[in-house]
Every structure is written in C-alpha cells, then in structure tokens.
C-alpha cells in the first residue's frame, strides 16, 4: 500500500472535517477520491502531506508517519493543490527551477534540462519565460502538474486537478494523468464523476468527513452490494413477471412499461448463481412474450455516487 490511514480524524474548532478515515491506496493505481464539497477530501490530502496535523488516528505514506516523517514523504510526492498559488513575479521556468532545486542538486545545465523536459510534457515551453501573473486557468493548472511531477514522484497527489478547466483543459489534464500512470501512483480528488469513470481504477467516496465506499471501480459499478438484471420484453409479460416474483432468489421486480407492449424490468436478486442459471430460461419459457434485451445491470458512477451520498445532499 502506498497510503494507509487508520481512524484519521481532523476537527477545526470543534467541527469534524474528517472522521475516522480508514483508507488504503494500492501501488500503481489511479485512485479517485470522490465526494461533494466539504466532504473532507482536501483535508485528507493536507493531512497526508503534513500541512495540517490530525486530531486523532494515524496515517502512513510509503510506510512513513505523516506527522513525524512528512519531509521524507514529500521527497517522494508530487502535489497539485486545488487552487495552486505560485510567486506571481516568477516565470514558469523560474518556478520549475525553484521546485527542482528542492529535490535535486547538480550542474545548472542539468537542472535546466530537467525543467525543459517538464515544460515539454505539459506543453508550456512557448510560455516558459512569461510571468505567471498573466497565465490562464488552464496554463496555471498545467504548470501545477509540471511542478508536481518534476521530481518523478512515486506518488502524485492532485486535488481537484480539472475542476476549474474547460472541456479541452480537462481532457489535457486527464491525458497527462494517463501518461503518468505507468510511472507512479496517482491519488486525486474530484467531484467530476465522468473523469473518475474514465481514468480511475480504484475509487473512494467521502461524505461529511466519512468514507462511505471504497472499491475497485469495476466492483463499484457492478452494483453496490446487490445484483440487478435488466430485461426488456415484448408482448404480454404479466405471467412471466409473476413467475419471477415467486422465485425465492428474486427480491424485487421493478417494471416500467413503454408503448407498443414493451416493458423493462429491473430484477434484483439475492443469489447470483441461481439467477445466472435460471432467470433468462424462466422468461424465455413463457410463450406470451419475447425477450429483446437481457443483461446484468451496470451502474454508472453517478448512480452509485448519488445512491451513496445523493439522498443526504438533496435533503439539505
């Protein structure tokens, strides 16, 4: 594990921002850290970097303690803040040169070569000698990624890397993340679910300072704890539906009718094996209807997310 926390908690003036977080981030994963605003994502990241101190619990990054050994942790980490701030009077090149010298020592020419290589990676070579003051949001974000990975980090921590970007900027950032994934573990927070579904392999969902789910994305999308099959039938399916409802391994059948005698059923089951072996056969054996579509229901991340945190958010 690259990151491991146990009961990690943080409160600000008596208000719990993070409550007993148990997180495990495997090596070489792109780990999406999801949650609505105020869920505790940025607080967790700051705790991992030693920028703030936990109220309770422990955390380890590369096996190093986040309170006692955070300087050593930061030697192997690249970090992009949610709203990255740099010295506005400096150029992108000067900013990267300053950053590089926190990690490396050696001839100025070699540092410069490393800086140029990083500028090329994020496509900022042309603007390298302009003051950051005049940079657009997208350019700042690219500079942020450049400074975060100038040390070839083993762990890249990105806090909302695409939040303030237009669709093109977002695509650029996700492309860069995909390019970097073979070199390091990427732990990033976001509330853009589409991005998570595109690039992440493991996901944790936070809400109100608590971890509400953590799993590989495939597992999360296949149905959070229950299996649901989706069937579309044409004709009179009433008898087939009654038969299904009588099966002990079927917990519910939700039906939506469409015009032209077509119906969609969402069948929740409690026994995967029984469902795989018998569900489709039972429906097909009914001569009054025909099956036009059949499959195991796959959720999209938005449904999973809203299922876990949406009700509470709407209720606010």
């Amino acid at each position: 594990m690259v990151i491991e926390t146990q009961g990690l908690s943080k409160s600000f003036k008596g208000v719990n921002a993070l409550n007993g977080l148990d997180l495990r981030v495997p090596e070489h994963s792109i780990f999406g850290f999801l949650g609505p605003n105020g869920a505790g994502k940025s607080t967790t990241i700051k705790l991992l970097l030693g920028l703030i101190r936990p109220t309770a619990g422990t955390g380890r990054v590369f096996g190093l303690d986040i309170v006692q050994e955070n300087v050593s942790i930061r030697k192997r980490v690249g970090y992009l803040a949610q709203d990255p701030r740099y010295y506005d009077h400096m150029t992108a090149r000067e900013t990267l040169r300053l950053t590089a010298r926190f990690f490396y020592e050696g001839p100025a020419g070699a540092i410069e070569e490393r800086v140029n290589e990083t500028l090329d990676l994020v496509g900022l070579r042309e603007k390298a000698d302009r003051p950051i003051k005049g940079f657009s949001g997208g350019e700042r974000q690219r500079l942020g990624i450049a400074q975060a990975q100038i040390n070839y980090p083993d762990l890249l921590i990105l806090d909302e890397p695409a939040a303030s970007l237009d669709p093109m900027g977002r695509k650029d950032v996700l492309d860069i993340m995909e390019r970097l994934r073979k070199h390091c573990t990427i732990f990033y927070s976001t509330h853009i679910l589409e991005d998570v579904q595109r690039v992440s392999d493991t996901v944790a969902i936070m809400n109100k300072g608590q971890l509400v789910a953590q799993a590989p994305i495939g597992e999360l999308l296949s149905g959070s704890g229950r299996t649901v099959y989706s069937i579309t039938v044409k004709g009179d399916g009433a008898e087939a539906r009654r038969t299904l409802e009588q099966q002990p391994w079927v917990s519910s059948v939700e039906a939506t009718e469409e015009a032209g005698q077509t119906a969609h059923w969402q069948i929740a089951v409690t026994d995967d094996e029984a469902a795989e072996a018998r569900l489709l056969r039972l429906v097909l054996s009914d001569e009054h209807c025909t099956v036009t579509e059949f499959g195991r229901r796959r959720y999209n991340l938005e449904e999973v997310f809203l299922g876990l945190v949406g009700g509470e958010q709407r209720g606010r």
């Binding site: 920028l51 300087v71 930061r74 701030r85």
Partner: protein, 267 residues
C-alpha cells in the same frame, strides 16, 4: 533524460531540508531584482540625506566655516541616533509581510508541500531580511556617512573599533525587531497587529522612559544613544549592559518561539 543521470538528490535533511534553495530564493528577492538599488537609494536619501541637510544648515549659519570637531560630533549624533530608529522601522516594515503574506497568498502551503522543513522556511526569511537590511541600510550607509563626514569635518574620521561597536549595536537593534515581527507573524494573521505591536514598542521608547525610567533598562531603546556614544567615546550608563544583554538574548528567544509556533501552523 541525460540530465537526470547527472542530478543527485539533495543531501539536506531534518530541519535543514530546503534551506539552501530557500535562502537563495529569499536573498534573490533582495539582491536579484531592482529592490537592492531602490533600497540603497532610499536609505541613502533618508539617512545620509538628513546629515547633508543638517550640515548645510550649520554651514549657512556659520559662514566663516565650522569648527573642526563640531560638525563631526553633530553628524555622528544625527546619523547614528536617527539610523537606530529609522532602520528599526524599515526592518519592521520589510519583514511584517514575510510570513503573513505567504500564508494568505497560499505560497507558504505550496512551498511546504515540497521537502522543506518549517524551520528552514522561517529561518531563511529571517536571515535574508537581516542580510538585506544590514548591507543596504547599515553597512552601505555607514560607508557613505564616513565619506561625507570626512568632507564636512575637513578630514575627521571615526576610529575603526568604536565604529564597529556602533555598527554592531545597529545590527542587533534591527535583528531584535525582525525576530519580534517574525514571532508575531506566527501568532497573528493580520499585518496590522504585527506592525502595530512592533512599531508601538519602538516608539514607546520615545516617551515611556519619562514615566517609567526602569523600562530603559530592559528594552533596546538605549541603543540609539549608545551607538553614537561609542564613536564619540562618551560615557555610557554603567547599567547599559543590562538592556544590551536582554536584547541579545531576546533575538534567539523570539526566533525559538516563532519556530515552535510555526511548527503547529495549519496551512
């Protein structure tokens, strides 16, 4: 990629992590930009300008010329008394924003997300401001002062050792106010509180000893009298070692408190 074979990981560890790079950056803000000549010109105008004006005024009142020791004594009195107060004000104004500004802008959080220790962050700010003020507001101005004193007093020059003593006192004075401001910056989040407290303490020295004479024995205010006295070989009060010792001890204490407090700062 060839460059990466040549580059070695930095060797600084523990509290020194990031120290060299940060010190280079902080000194660069003083000497790598136009700031150095602007500061040099400003301090020349303020400190040596005052001496020029007073010397010209003295000369116009005494058209036959000034007695040889008169202008020398006046120049020393004016320059060192005024420098003790003016450089302390300058030290406060230049450093009051050093930590608060970076905390508010978010650059402190950025820098400290790199392998940089918090002591390095605080100490390099102190050192760079101390070096910047010492060179531009004290050493350079004293050189210019010595040259103009020679001119006004027809060849009189301060002796080397008393001059060094006076310079030492001026440097200690600014270090006191700089370390005080750094310490206050780690407690307060507003510039006003830091500047107000430090300048309030500085200017209290102009009036408070009239009501509470003992305060002169525990505060650095006597430095503005001791610095010219050192050059003019005037008698200093026999208790003057007390405020000087307290001032000298206060500097590491203020820095220690600043480091302790900043270690707990949430960024």
């Amino acid at each position: 990629m060839a460059a990466n074979a040549v580059l070695k990981p930095v060797r600084e560890a523990g509290w020194r992590s990031g120290f060299g790079n940060l010190l280079r950056k902080e000194l660069g803000l003083w000497f790598g930009t136009s700031r150095w000549w602007k500061q040099a010109a400003l301090w020349t105008l303020i400190l040596n300008g005052v001496v020029v004006m007073i010397m010209l005024a003295m000369r116009s009142e005494s058209p036959e010329g000034m007695p040889p020791m008169g202008p020398f004594m006046v120049a020393v009195e004016v320059f060192f008394k005024f420098a003790a107060i003016a450089t302390a004000v300058g030290a406060v104004l230049s450093i009051q924003d050093a930590i608060i500004g970076e905390r508010q802008s978010g650059t402190a959080a950025w820098i400290l997300s790199k392998p940089v220790s918090r002591p390095s962050f605080v100490v390099t700010k102190f050192l760079a401001h101390a070096v910047g003020m010492t060179i531009l507001a004290i050493l350079l101005q004293t050189v210019i002062f010595v040259v103009q004193t020679w001119f006004w007093s027809d060849g009189s020059l301060p002796e080397a050792l008393p001059l060094l003593q006076a310079l030492g006192l001026l440097v200690m004075n600014i270090l006191f106010y700089q370390s005080l401001c750094l310490m206050l910056s780690t407690f307060f989040h507003g510039r006003g509180a830091v500047t107000g407290t430090a300048l309030g303490l500085l200017f209290a020295g102009q009036a408070l000893p009239n009501f509470l004479p003992w305060t002169l024995k525990v505060m650095p205010w006597i430095i503005s009298d001791l610095a010219p006295a050192a050059i003019l070989k005037a008698q200093a009060p026999d208790w003057s070692w007390i405020p000087l010792t307290i001032t000298a001890l206060a500097i590491p204490v203020f820095l220690g408190v600043a480091l302790w407090r900043f270690q707990r700062e949430e960024l």
